[in-house]
Symmetry: none
Subunit: 232 residues, 2 copies
DNA sequence: CGCCTATGTGACAGTAATGTTACATTACGA
DNA sequence: TCGTAATGTAACATTACTGTCACATAGGCG
């Protein structure tokens, strides 16, 4: 379970390695490239939660990468943090104009950058950065790894936990089995779609304690969704 | 009550004196040395709350001091702020790699440094707060180095002691084995994650005396946490 | 109603994660 | 220097979880 996926576009190998180390230590998942074109491909393939973009990279410029990311529908809303060198005030302004969300001036401490990423994520997707998720009478605490319903603790296996987390991050939304396999199990998981059904059942069994109404709605020939009125 | 204990490793007498004056004025307690080896001894004797480390000192290098501080369990998590000269970008990166938390570039204003130290302490403080930790019916006294459960004394080995201390500093929170290795054993300790399990067992055995409920919760595929209701 | 498809359900075996023990090695005080 | 305690690791035991199946049930449509 990661705190989020980061795309790092940086052509200084030493700095890149340092940052990757720090972010992985903080439970982030990092993809790194030194090349702008490749960055665009990676971003299109699977949009990250944040892009860290060095302004001075080889090939196409950072500003161009920024602009194109903003134009691609899937990445239009992904936050971008510029990494600029001291004195590139000019670029900084143009970067923010082009659609970057924040910038950090080199040299910076990795801790500072981690903190900024955390801040940006909290702003854009509370669910991802947050330590606490809730919907209806369900609460999930990421720090203590505990789930409660109407105050009573619910024991969950790892997969059920991730599954519920995913639903809590997008309440009300319907997900196909394939989609859930991608998000909860991982992209290339090669697992039977029906397996989702079984885990949904296990989750239901665990979470619908007592006389609780079922909070997972089955959408025939479409998938499942978290819903206060699952019977509708 | 001082705002915190600072270990200043700086071999320029004039600068050292200036900084000591400023920090004492701000209610900090400062120990100062010009020598790296001595710094390590002082740090081991009684770990400070922050280390200010000049990169260019006589004897062993700043980077070596930094590394060794990180390797000693008692100082592994003490924040280190580097004092570097302008233009030592290379060293700065290596410093952050080695485990320094922040850096300040000479020449800097003492005020700025005081502010940074304040910021770093605020980040770490909650855990550092007292000489006495407690959770549920467990008490730990840092001064006498004693642990009690429901009033009866519990003998603990050094590692189990540090492990329990870490849990008491963050009660309820789940830590992965890797995280625990970093925090309790020290960074870059190069130890098998499974070793944590064995020490968890030793800690459990020592602490779950009589009919006491297990207070350490195993979170499958995530790690361990201190929890009054470990069975939940 | 009868057929077809989609989903619910319980069981099961394989696998991965953790518990537990024993042992070799190291660190340390007498 | 010796003896003791502490430590890290490997090996084995045990448990929990997982994915899949076979079959049951429900929904939709003529």
């Amino acid at each position: 379970m990661t705190r989020g996926r980061i795309l790092l576009v940086e052509d200084d190998p030493a700095l890149a390695e340092l940052l990757v180390w720090h972010f992985e230590r903080e439970e982030f998942e990092v993809e790194q490239t030194a090349d702008g074109e490749e960055a665009l491909l990676l971003a299109r393939e699977s949009p990250p939660d944040v892009v860290l973009l060095d302004w001075m990279i080889e090939g196409i410029s950072g500003i161009e990468v920024c602009r194109r990311l903003r134009r691609m529908p899937d990445t239009a809303n992904v936050p971008i943090i510029m990494l600029t060198a001291r004195g590139e005030e000019e670029d900084r302004v143009r970067g923010l104009e082009t659609g970057a969300d924040d910038y950090v001036t080199k040299p910076f401490s990795p801790r500072e950058l981690v903190a900024r990423v955390g801040a940006v994520l909290r702003r854009v997707r509370p669910a991802l950065a947050g330590e606490h998720l809730a919907y209806a009478d369900i609460e999930m605490d990421m720090v203590s790894h505990k789930v409660r319903r109407s105050g009573t603790a619910i024991p969950l296996g790892p997969t059920e936990f991730r599954l519920l987390k995913h639903f809590l991050e997008h309440p009300g939304r319907v997900f196909s089995r394939e989609r859930l396999l991608d998000s909860v199990w991982g992209r290339d998981s090669d697992i039977e779609p029906r397996t989702v059904d079984v885990h949904i059942r296990r989750l239901r069994k665990a979470i619908n304690i007592g006389a609780c109404a079922d909070i997972i709605r089955t959408v025939r020939s479409a998938g499942y969704a978290l819903d206060v009125d699952a019977t509708g």
